[in-house]
Symmetry: C2
Subunit: 332 residues, 2 copies
Amino acid sequence: MTRSTPAPLTLGIVGFGKIARDQHVPAIAATGLFRLAAVVSPHGGAPEEAGLSDVPVFRSQTEMLAALPGLDAVAICTPPAVRHALTVEALRAGKHVLIEKPPAATLTELRLLLDAAEGAKRTLFAAWHSRFNAAVEETRRRLAGATVRHAAITWKEDVRRWHPGQDWIFAAGGFGVFDPGINALSILTEILPAPVVVRDAELRVPANRDTPIAATLRMEGVAGSAVGTVTAAFDFLQQGEQTWTIAIETDGIGAEGIGAGGGRLDLTHGGTRLSVDGVPMLAEPDAEYQGIYRRFHHLIADAAGDVDARPLQLVADACLVGRWRTTDAFHW
Amino acid sequence: MTRSTPAPLTLGIVGFGKIARDQHVPAIAATGLFRLAAVVSPHGGAPEEAGLSDVPVFRSQTEMLAALPGLDAVAICTPPAVRHALTVEALRAGKHVLIEKPPAATLTELRLLLDAAEGAKRTLFAAWHSRFNAAVEETRRRLAGATVRHAAITWKEDVRRWHPGQDWIFAAGGFGVFDPGINALSILTEILPAPVVVRDAELRVPANRDTPIAATLRMEGVAGSAVGTVTAAFDFLQQGEQTWTIAIETDGIGAEGIGAGGGRLDLTHGGTRLSVDGVPMLAEPDAEYQGIYRRFHHLIADAAGDVDARPLQLVADACLVGRWRTTDAFHW
């Protein structure tokens, strides 16, 4: 089947911070499927700096929606706290909506977003950006039909380096070390051939903060499934080398024939590199956001949506069954 | 439309502890819709004591399912920890399944139970027993179409009186004060005319335990909805009078005409009594489990299921966004 190239859809970016400039704007330009038609920036003036002087800037999404009634889609790039209300407003105005991770502060809010999208009959795409790496897709393909004996997530980074001074991350609802950790769980739920449930967790909260600075999880496949145990170690105080790795030991032979006698897959560098039995297989530069915009366009064309609650569910489950412990106070 | 009285369905009770004897057995007898055909009790011998000497007793559900292939349904009355595997086993064996609250230890497990029920094409009924009171239904009816300005849940009981020595309730995954508290949330989600989300929570965990002994929640309706704020105060150390109350202040006039100028509803005694503007309206003896078995039978007849995740979602959301605090050690 051949398809003629469709006309770009018009898109507004709401919230013009670091992620919008560094990722969304270049990905929109590179894929050519959307035309950036507006930016919402409460402080104004931002797009000129970004070389987008012909793009109109609005102080609020409400103003943008009123001024551009023909706008097709909106990408919400704000901090999590205001994301929910903006997403509902955009859907009700008949726009297709792309939202960053985590898609909501709570599971109930995520459920309400789904209801809003269904009510508006518009595409809601809650993107888990870490999934959009070729090495993640290759890992998923290799694990389909395989038996996973054990997987170990190690997601350790220095919060002072990646989130300097961002107190919101340690405030209630800010996710703490689960803010990066949920990226690992979004990959895990994508690549495993069967679901896992949280059996045990330990969460360490600094004495002067509200969210975990470190966490360990023990997960399991259900009885008789193709997945054994999965552990996760999340840490926000990693010095030296930063680690975002999922090491997978397989037992059986997958559809793709990992090899008799089992095979070991190491998905490293945040999901961008894959080694099989120690041999590098794939190492592609990060093109996550181009994949996100391609998928967003596909979903709109198919009148579909994509909201996967599983990564957020695993975090909530860990908070529900976990043992909360107080640890040393944290200061920047 | 008239319906002839259907023949009773055969049912096995799995787990023959206090709730099975005090509630399930009498409700099955009173409603006459099911015939108790078997009991699973790992320690054996229990039904004789309960005056059910003609009911066969099995050591495990597996044995019961093998011995009685024609069994229609199963009621799982075990502690939460083993509930999941038993429910999946019963569904896969083609049985309709009734489970007690909370329906699962985690949201992921609840999702997997739904998948299992759909796969087996059998009824799964996750009963929230507190909902099966006439006063709860009357409150729901009165709030339909009304505007709820504020609702205050006060759920305070003495854990030493109601759960003496039950260490599991304070162990990770045991829910702590949310074990009774989730009953209040199951009523709340049933009676409110619009959903609420958890905005803030504080959870107090004894220094020598893993689950909260007290919690406060602040919830809100979403912007523009018929519900304002809802607070909840859960406490496991209540001396003297035990309190299980939801006080509701309405602003607008509901479909049933609560009255101009607003109206106040007090749903007390765990949902069994309702007062309107201070005047007692309804006080019926607890017949929760008869209602549960009637509904279970209806669901089976309609080839439907009933698994409402919302109460568990609110608890998980509170754990996710809440501030966890350490409080005094707890000893029985």
